[in-house]
């Protein structure tokens, strides 16, 4: 058995179009490193340079948001389903204000948004 990982449309370019891939590891961090060996670049879209989960990517182990399970330290085991969903967010205010909020959230233990290429 392995851990089933559900990949959102926007990240399927890293999985050859696959919607579901399999990986292994005892924690989410290990799982993402394992996935990256088969799907190079995937981890970089989920984890910041500082080594934390991106603020605007939601990752779930089964039915739980990993933010409530220790984020990258969340335990995973064979038979679990990990779901990745890019946060649906936005709004009218300007980018400077958004950046301020995001850095505020980062300071509070959350992290900056996904910056695409």
């Amino acid at each position: 058995m392995a851990i089933e990982v559900r990949i959102p449309t926007i990240l399927r370019s890293y999985t050859g179009g696959a919607k579901i891939v399999e990986g292994a590891g005892d924690t989410l961090a290990e799982l993402l490193s394992n996935l990256d060996s088969n799907h190079a670049g995937l981890r970089g879209r989920l984890v910041t340079d500082e080594g934390a989960l991106h603020r605007f990517v939601n990752v779930y182990v089964n039915d739980e948001d990993v933010r409530f399970l220790g984020a990258l330290d969340a335990k995973v085991s064979d038979g679990d389903t990990v779901t990745i969903l890019p946060a649906v967010a936005g709004g009218a205010f300007g980018f400077a204000a958004a950046a301020a909020i995001i850095s505020h959230s980062a300071a509070a233990g959350r992290r900056a948004p996904v910056t695409t290429r």
């Binding site: 926007i10 039915d63 967010a89 936005g90 910056t115």
Partner: protein, 162 residues
């Protein structure tokens, strides 16, 4: 082009008006590959803000799973701007994560004017598209009361024991 039923469009506008001055957000799901938005799902704005919206992460998972189970996808992702025009902000563009979706924006800045526009947002590039309002086919699940001799698509002449 986005084709959307008048009833769904009206429900989206009503949602945006109801949550004003906070931003409202939601999804219209449709069968995978159909490009037809058929099921309106108003979502909570977890940010409860006049200038920002974010789906609640647990509701997001539940709704996305449900779509998966029903072979649906998010055909439309909508939100409102409550003091500015219905055009994607830089924030909207940087967060747009569903390249296949129509991003529908409603502005509620003018209580008497309905401003609805639709966009594709792919790799940071915004392209506006026309919105076609379709007069919906009759909902077969609704109780209808048509006069004999009229010919809507489907008619339930009486309640069938529900």
């Amino acid at each position: 082009m986005l084709s959307i039923d008048r009833a769904i469009r009206d429900a989206i506008v009503a949602h945006a008006r109801r949550d004003h001055p906070d931003e409202a957000c939601g999804v219209v799901a449709g069968p995978v590959g159909s490009d037809r938005p058929t099921r309106h799902i108003p979502m909570d704005n977890a940010a409860r803000s006049m200038t920002f919206y974010e789906f609640d992460s647990m509701e997001h998972l539940r709704v996305w799973r449900e779509m998966d189970d029903r072979d649906e996808e998010p055909v439309v992702i909508y939100h409102s701007h409550t003091a500015t025009e219905a055009y994607p902000s830089r924030t909207d563009v940087s967060f747009a994560g569903e390249p296949g979706a129509h991003y529908l924006l409603v502005s509620t800045r003018d209580p008497d004017d309905e401003e609805i526009r639709s966009f594709r947002i792919v790799d940071g590039v915004v392209t506006e598209e026309p919105v076609e309002i379709v007069e919906a086919a009759v909902d077969p699940h609704a109780v209808q009361s048509y006069m004999f001799g009229q010919s809507p698509t489907t008619v339930d002449y009486e309640c069938s024991g529900r």
